[in-house]
């Protein structure tokens, strides 16, 4: 199919999961992810997707069911957001520790309290250390493409780790966007059936997820660490294979705007597209400004990131999450830690923006740039646009 079709991004993701020909979907509906799994349940009910749909009673159970089905050798999918992801918390570690290639969409949403159904990255930032490969989609097409690619990454025998594809809640999930869908035959050629490395087979008995005594636990963690570190190369390979097969090339880190610009915005997720417009406008009026978009968040692509920012004098790092009590958002913490070892360090301004669905517009990014030029941005971090009486 070469013609783009306008479709709600949630439904495009559901289509991707259907085309990936999953065996099990175990999910609990939660805003703003509901449309994805609702659509998948329709596919299963209509017989369009030959899979088991497990309508569980909680997200904790959803992830538990996913662990069981993936261990049994089934291609497994789930989706969640915010409180749902938080409720999965302990099982997320089990999925990665047991090396189960589950694919999950997180429709990023703010965590309560106060109750918010709107977008920010607070949910996934609380799950940074779950040992999953974590990817951020920027638009509807990416959400569709990366969901299919995620299965190939997860199931690669060099990886065998769960993969989480982040899409901004509402901003992406509920947006109607033009999406180029791919023919099923081409997807089948790209993504062959799942070949589990280990299954529950009575002829070859195995205990999965046993106790890890102190004589084993550290080696077990090291095994997972090696797997996630090694997955960086596989993600890059799968992305480039995607480009060769379907013409859309994805990189772990994308750059945009003037090459070797003095000031660079660093963004993750859908905000990148808004920043892109601001960067374009500013470039046109002669400013030396560019943008770095982080697509792969875990494992963090250090080399690619350092290459992307080489020569920059100043970074404006946008965080869509607050990490309370440490003076920086999670993305800025990451980047500052990385730059500590580098001989050349750009100045870093961290801007925490768009929490709980607060709009961040082109105008805001232009203002951030303007303030950085005038040295008005806090040298550490700024919580953007907070109304204050002071």
């Amino acid at each position: 199919m070469t013609k783009a079709i306008g479709l709600e991004v949630s439904l495009a993701i559901a289509e991707a999961v259907k085309q990936a020909n999953v065996d099990i979907v175990a999910a609990y509906p939660i805003t703003p992810q509901t449309h994805i799994v609702e659509e998948l349940s329709v596919y299963v009910a209509n017989g369009e997707l030959d899979a088991e749909y497990v309508p569980v009673e909680s997200e904790h159970t959803a992830m538990s069911a996913c662990v069981g089905s993936s261990a049994a050798g089934a291609r497994t999918y789930t989706a969640t957001a915010a409180q749902g992801l938080a409720l999965m918390h302990e099982i997320l570690y089990i999925a990665s520790g047991m090396r189960l290639p589950i694919v999950m969409t997180v429709a990023n949403r703010a965590l309560s309290a106060p109750i918010s159904i709107w977008n920010d990255h607070g949910d996934i930032m609380s799950e940074r250390d779950i040992g999953w490969v974590q990817i951020f989609a920027e638009n509807g097409q990416e959400a569709y493409d990366l969901t299919i690619a995620a299965f190939k990454i997860a199931e690669d025998h060099r990886v065998l780790l769960p993969v989480c594809v982040n899409v901004d809640g509402f901003i992406l999930t509920h947006m109607i966007e033009p999406v180029l869908f791919i023919d099923q035959k081409k997807i089948d050629a790209f993504l062959p059936p799942f070949k589990p490395a280990m299954t529950l087979n009575p002829d070859k008995p195995v205990t999965m997820g046993p106790v890890g005594v102190p004589e084993v636990y550290m080696e077990s963690r090291k095994q997972c660490e090696e797997a996630i570190m090694g997955s960086r190369q596989v993600v890059a390979e799968v992305f480039s294979q995607w480009g060769q097969s379907f013409g859309r090339d994805y990189k772990l880190i994308e750059t945009n705007g003037q090459p070797r610009a003095k000031v660079l915005f660093v963004t993750m997720g859908s905000q990148g597209e808004t920043t892109m417009t601001a960067v374009q406008d500013l470039s046109e009026s002669g400013e030396s400004v560019g943008q770095v978009r982080i697509r792969l968040w875990r494992p963090f692509p250090r080399e690619e990131f350092l290459e992307a920012i080489a020569g920059a004098e100043e970074l404006i790092v946008i965080d869509r999450a607050l990490s309370p009590g440490v003076y920086n958002g999670p993305v800025a913490q990451e980047i500052k830690a990385l730059l500590y070892e580098q001989p050349q360090k750009p100045k870093i301004h961290n801007v925490i923006a768009g929490l709980g669905g607060r709009d961040v517009t082109v105008k805001d990014f232009k203002k951030m740039y303007e303030m950085s030029r005038k040295n008005e941005l806090d040298p550490n971090y700024t919580i953007w646009g907070v109304r204050s009486d002071a």
């Binding site: 195995v206 997820g209 084993v216 090291k222």
Partner: protein, 94 residues
């Protein structure tokens, strides 16, 4: 390479799965103990109550009819010493 580890991380099965059933028996858990049981053969009447009460099932009858603990597994809990009707077992520093 730490001698506290059973094997190198590369040798662990995927996801730390166990592929040989019952291999927990190979794990020395006896080194958790601080105290170990010692039987006074003068007092011991070979009743075997200690082996009945041992939560590790690591006490069994030997050729002479006594009931020594297998120190490879014994965690030094002292239940045997406590249950012994003749106070024949004392817990001594390991």
């Amino acid at each position: 390479m730490s001698d506290l580890a059973i094997c190198a991380w590369q040798k662990l099965e995927l996801g730390t799965a166990i592929t040989s059933p019952g291999n927990a028996a190979e794990l020395r858990t006896g080194d958790w103990k601080t105290l170990r049981p010692e039987t006074d053969r003068e007092k011991c009447i070979k009743c075997g109550l200690c082996s009945v009460y041992c939560p590790e099932f690591c006490i069994s009858e030997n050729e002479e009819g006594y009931y020594p603990a297998d120190l490879f597994y014994c965690k030094g809990c002292g239940i045997c010493a406590n249950e012994c009707p003749k106070q024949a077992i004392s817990m001594i520093m390991d």
